[in-house]
């Protein structure tokens, strides 16, 4: 995506930045997350949603998204994915699981290079 855009969800107009992140984080709800995913060709299943919620919770608690190793360990403990690895996460979001989960979860684009 190169230009700022907007989308309409349940009759509400939602402003997006040039990379598809919400301009106003308070616009987010699960319907918005679903619409963002569908606009990029992804249908969210329960593992996608687990990841999005985990990253939102982590961001709220620590002010930043988690490290991949933290997500993998939590996924092994909290879901049926006992062999979860970075590959599992990249299968969910091939273009970058943490970054994409942030975008679909209405969080700011991560600045960190980690």
């Amino acid at each position: 995506m190169n230009d700022a855009a907007e989308m309409t969800v349940d009759g509400r107009r939602i402003a997006l930045d040039s990379d598809g992140y919400l301009v106003d984080a308070s616009d987010w709800n699960e319907a918005v997350g679903r619409a963002l995913a569908e606009s990029s060709g992804t249908t969210l299943d329960e593992n996608h949603w687990w990841l999005i919620r985990f990253i939102r919770d982590h961001h709220q608690r620590y002010g930043m998204p988690p490290l991949m190793r933290v997500v993998i360990r939590a996924m092994r403990e909290q879901t049926g994915e006992h062999d979860a690895s970075s590959r599992t996460l990249y299968r969910l979001f091939p273009d970058g699981p943490i970054r994409e989960a942030c975008r679909l979860g209405g969080l700011p684009r991560p600045e960190s290079c980690i």
Binding site: G63, M64, L67, S112, C113, I114
Partner: protein
């Protein structure tokens, strides 16, 4: 901050360099392999206007810029390319470069020494990020916080440091006077223990 990796000098700058720093790079290049220089945090401000960097200096090193620090300084245009002779790099790539390839014979592999108070919110996060980057590589990491550095563990943004202990990413040690004790974030250690940790660490990184 200077460290060595094999026979190649590796320099990690977190503040804009002065004349002496630049002269040290040129001197190193003239007497050995081209050093690698990694600019992170405030040092990245210098990249837009690299005062003191001569034509010879430009060619004398592999100038790497932390892309996270760079993006943070270009919020309206995060894809702004890093100008030559600099090139974009990442903290994880840099830490992988300066860490040993295999296991080390030391009680602590990487010790981060934090003794300076954060200058602002950006500095707060850019002090924590190298520690998280090392943890993301599954390195054995200890953080030693002391003196004014303890301000990182208090106030807005301090909760980010809880990741280290909540997820066993690093040992967080806070130096306190023997008579005072410590009841804040991390584990309190006395100065004697801190000195031993520094002495025994395989690599000491001052943040």
């Amino acid at each position: 901050m200077i460290g060595g990796q094999g026979s190649t000098l590796a320099l990690w700058w977190r503040r804009s360099p002065g004349e002496d720093d630049l002269a040290a790079v040129e001197a190193a290049a003239s007497s050995g392999p081209r050093p690698a220089v990694f600019l992170q945090g405030e040092a990245v401000d210098w990249v837009a206007d690299p005062v003191g960097l001569t034509a010879a200096g430009r060619a004398s090193a592999d100038w790497q810029v932390c892309i996270g620090s760079w993006r943070r300084r270009h919020p309206d245009c995060p894809d702004e390319p890093v100008p030559p002779p600099f090139r974009a790099s990442t903290l994880t790539r840099w830490l992988d470069h300066i860490c040993p390839a295999g296991p080390v014979d030391a009680s602590t592999e990487l010790l981060f020494d934090v003794g300076r108070a954060p200058r602002d919110g950006r500095d707060r996060i850019e002090t924590l990020e190298p520690i998280l980057a090392a943890a993301s590589l599954d390195r054995d990491v200890t953080v030693l916080v002391h003196g004014d550095g303890r301000a990182h563990l208090d106030g807005p943004g301090a909760e980010a440091w809880d990741q280290l202990t909540d997820f066993d990413l690093a040992e967080l040690c806070v130096v306190h006077a023997p008579s005072a004790g410590w009841s804040g974030r991390g584990t309190g250690v006395e100065p004697e223990t801190a000195a031993r940790l520094r002495r025994e660490a395989f690599r000491l990184v001052t943040l």
